[in-house]
């Protein structure tokens, strides 16, 4: 459906996208994961024809976006990072405008009503967009992307700036849409791609670092590497014990939590889950564990893990 090959994009001296290639098959939901400034938006902009690549080609359904822009663009529904809404229009007028802009041939009223129902904007259909909440605006943006029933949907950071309830709603909506669309979704939130996508493409510094199915990805990233512990006992003794424990890379005391109880931050060796062993060992040595929290991985940790440590990462960059 989508084929990017050797895309390079320079902004002056800055290399924003560096030789990015990947393909997305029909019906896939692909997550495009990377920290801020990784090149996600630039790549998606090239894919949707908003920007042109310095070199490389982007094909949509076999059609090159530069050679036949109209035909390629017709197959894509795009929701940019900031939904491109005309604030002075009502939702109805706006969707009507997008309908005409895209030159859609479907029966107008029925099609727009259907979209409004899917994107759940019926309640605000006749209201002026200016007066809508951020969550509703985002849904209007999604509705606009759906106009004309494009086979491919591209969402750039669709949940940024929404409250938790709205985030869940938008994710559910995207998952529903995934049943009969090919979707590319960019985000810097790991849990988001895990919740929604079949496949994850990781990008940083303009380069693709990994391209794996979500299941594979979860396997790599599952074992927690950072623990927050709350342990009762003499601080120095506990620290000495933690540091000598097999599988612990580093340990440090953070703060005193209660009388005789301290919190510790422990980093474990790669790919090994030591939580159970550590728990029993501490109990054996009479250091009661009053709390243990496995810290989720940040996107940065995942990159570290994917490229195997700081040094490699620098090289990659």
């Amino acid at each position: 459906m989508i084929e990017l090959s050797h895309i390079v994009k320079r902004f002056g001296d800055k290399l924003a996208v560096d030789d990015v290639s990947f393909a997305v098959g029909e019906g896939e939901i692909v997550g495009f994961l990377g920290p801020n400034g990784a090149g996600k938006t630039t790549t998606l902009s090239i894919l949707t024809g908003y920007l042109s690549a310095t070199s490389g080609t982007a094909k949509i359904g076999g059609v090159d976006i530069l050679e036949h822009p109209a035909e390629a663009k017709r197959q894509i529904g795009f929701l940019p990072e900031y939904a491109p809404l005309y604030l002075d229009m009502t939702v109805e007028e706006y969707l009507g405008f997008v309908y005409e802009l895209k030159g859609v041939k479907l029966p107008r009223a029925a099609h727009l009503c259907e979209i409004a129902a899917v994107a759940r904007v019926e309640d605000v259909y006749r209201r002026v967009i200016k007066n809508l909440s951020k969550g509703y605006r985002q849904r209007v943006g999604i509705a606009a992307a759906l106009v004309g029933n494009p086979k491919i949907l591209v969402f750039d950071e669709p949940t940024v700036g929404l409250d938790p309830a709205q985030i869940v709603e938008i994710r559910n909506l995207i998952r529903t849409l995934g049943r009969d669309h090919t979707i590319i979704l960019s985000t810097h939130i790991l849990s988001e791609v895990q919740a929604v996508c079949d496949r994850i493409v990781v990008i940083d510094g303009g380069k693709i670092l990994a391209d794996k199915s979500t299941a594979e990805f979860v396997e790599i990233t599952q074992a927690p590497t950072r623990l927050n512990l709350r342990i009762e006992g003499e601080q120095a003794d506990v620290l000495r014990f933690l540091r000598s424990f097999n599988g612990v890379k580093s340990a440090e005391a953070l703060a005193r939590a209660e009388e005789g109880v301290y919190t510790y931050f422990v980093q474990t060796a790669e790919g090994k889950d030591i939580r159970r062993d550590l728990f029993f060992a501490l109990a054996e040595h009479d250091f009661p564990v009053l709390g243990m929290e496995a810290l989720g991985m940040s996107v940065e940790d995942i990159f570290l893990r994917l490229v195997g440590g700081d040094d490699n990462r620098k090289e990659v960059r």
């Binding site: 822009p69 005309y86 895209k102």
Partner: protein, 235 residues
Amino acid sequence: MGAIYRRELRAYFISPVGYVFVGVFLCLAGAFFALSTLYSGTTSLSSYFTYVLMSFVVLIPLLTMRLFSEERKSRTEQLLLTSPVSLWGMVMAKFFAAFTLFGATLLVSCLNFLFIKGEYGAINVPVMLAQLLGVLLCGAAFCALGIFLSSLTENQLIAALTSIGAIVAMLGLGFITSGIENTALRVTLKWFSVSDRFYTFSYGLFDFVSLFYYVSIAFVFLFLTVRVLEKRRWA
């Protein structure tokens, strides 16, 4: 293209801009008309149309300032640029939206001429039509110029001010050139003087060269606008 044209025309009347333009244009036209014909006791419209031309300095930028700058600022240009509409389609749609409102208001302002009939004698209709055509063409060129300047910035105020400056320059060039002694320079600058071309129309001459001149000026600025949009894509 039709979608953008209709949206722009409607947008003029969703915001106050369209009303302000029509209102101010008609007021000024009425005042100019009263001063230059009724109070001057003449049926010649050439000074009236010259005044109207001068008023474009403020009026045309009002129409064109937001056409691209606002689109860029509110990021709605992303919608347009990722839709299956060509850049030329976008630019022409916006140009014709501005030109339609301008032309329609100009035609409505011609109702003033009805006052002349019977009171002071008749208007020379063919001359009036030539003058009207001249004003329309000149307005088209200024609209294209304003659109071009609007595509360069995301700030409406800057778009408006630069347009005002550029229109003043194009109108004023005729006055400046007469004082220049170097013939080559004078002729060259005179070539860019929009008002000079207008005078052939104001004498009631239908001049194909001037017609072609105005159409080329409009075309050049619209072409430059397309290039600006195209370039941004490659930036």
